[in-house]
């Protein structure tokens, strides 16, 4: 198993864990034309700021994503976020999931990865650009379970040099 040396020192503990309660569960259908990124605001309006989200089915009409790639040698993170890639046309969902948590500014941050079938029939996927993923004619079904008492918050990670989600207990 190949291991990488990140720019910062490895910090303990190696696993971060926060226990939460289910704060409600919804099956949501995003309508045609909606952006995946709209989901965060709609959930916030219902008081949901932390959630685990499963992408169940449907299709995108535009799918924007990135695939990480090795960065040029330097003091920064080992990976670049990669070029923005996009597919226009019907992109049926194969699967995916997302974490909804708090960004560095305290606002909602949606981290989503998914796999679709592109308009040319070729599988495509990566880390989604939520503001660039537009839902297609049949909508997009997702299942949301809200996390109560704990969740994820973005933090500057000293080890990797990247901004990453970390589990947090509310009020801690």
């Amino acid at each position: 198993m190949r291991l990488l040396k990140h720019p910062g020192r490895p910090l303990q503990p190696r696993r971060l864990i926060a226990e939460a309660r289910a704060g409600g569960e919804w099956r949501c259908l995003l309508p045609e034309g909606a952006l995946l990124g709209d989901l965060a605001g709609r959930l916030a309006a219902r008081g949901v700021e932390q959630a685990a989200i499963q992408l169940l089915g449907g299709a995108f009409a535009r799918f924007e994503y990135r695939c990480g790639e090795p960065a040029e040698a330097g003091a920064g993170p080992l990976l670049d976020e990669g070029e923005r890639r996009s597919l226009d046309g019907a992109c049926p969902l194969v699967g995916g999931s997302a974490i909804l948590g708090r960004g560095l500014d305290g606002g909602p941050r949606l981290h989503a990865h998914a796999l679709v079938v592109g308009p040319d029939g070729v599988l495509a996927g990566g880390r989604l650009e939520p503001a660039g993923c537009r839902v297609g004619p049949d909508g997009l079904a997702v299942q949301v379970v809200a996390l109560a008492g704990a969740g994820f918050a973005a933090a500057q990670d000293e080890e990797t040099g990247a901004t990453l989600f970390e589990p947090r207990v509310e009020g801690a």
Partner: protein, 141 residues
């Protein structure tokens, strides 16, 4: 194997938010996190992250094989599965999914134990499954 469907009654329990830091094996790291959280049975509710390289199993018996995907920069596109106790009562993870490589090629299979090191992070939500004692039964196919 029986040709009957096994129905395991139960209910869902706690949700656990987890981050695995770099250079841990995906399967063993998920198991260790579940054990630390006191989860014997659990299902994956959401998972996003990346791997240094990926090893994905396919087939069975003599036809079994492993697809290796060279990174770094392997994105985990989908990750599903469950944890159940092994003979020693420790959580054992059965995880499968799909990944993409830096050139956007897509691959799938079972995540092979000890061969899928976390690259930047794995953000994961597990939900506890609580089987009902003594009610396990089979239903006719």
């Amino acid at each position: 194997m029986s040709d009957e469907i096994l129905f395991e009654p139960g209910r869902t329990g706690r949700l656990v938010a987890i981050r695995l830091k770099p250079n841990q094996d995906l399967v063993e790291g998920v198991e260790a996190a579940a054990e630390e959280a006191g989860l014997a049975y659990a299902t994956v509710r959401a998972a996003v992250g990346s791997l240094v390289d990926a090893a994905l199993g396919f087939g069975a018996g003599e036809g079994a094989g492993v697809t290796t995907v060279e990174g770094p920069g392997i994105e985990i596109l989908t990750l599903g599965g469950e944890l159940r106790p092994d003979r020693q009562g420790r959580p054992h993870a059965y995880l499968q999914g799909t990944v993409s490589d830096p050139d956007a090629g897509v691959y799938g299979g079972r995540f092979v134990r000890g061969a899928n090191p976390i690259c930047m992070t794995l953000e994961l939500v597990l939900q506890e499954w609580i089987p009902e004692d003594g009610d396990e039964g089979e239903d006719e196919a």
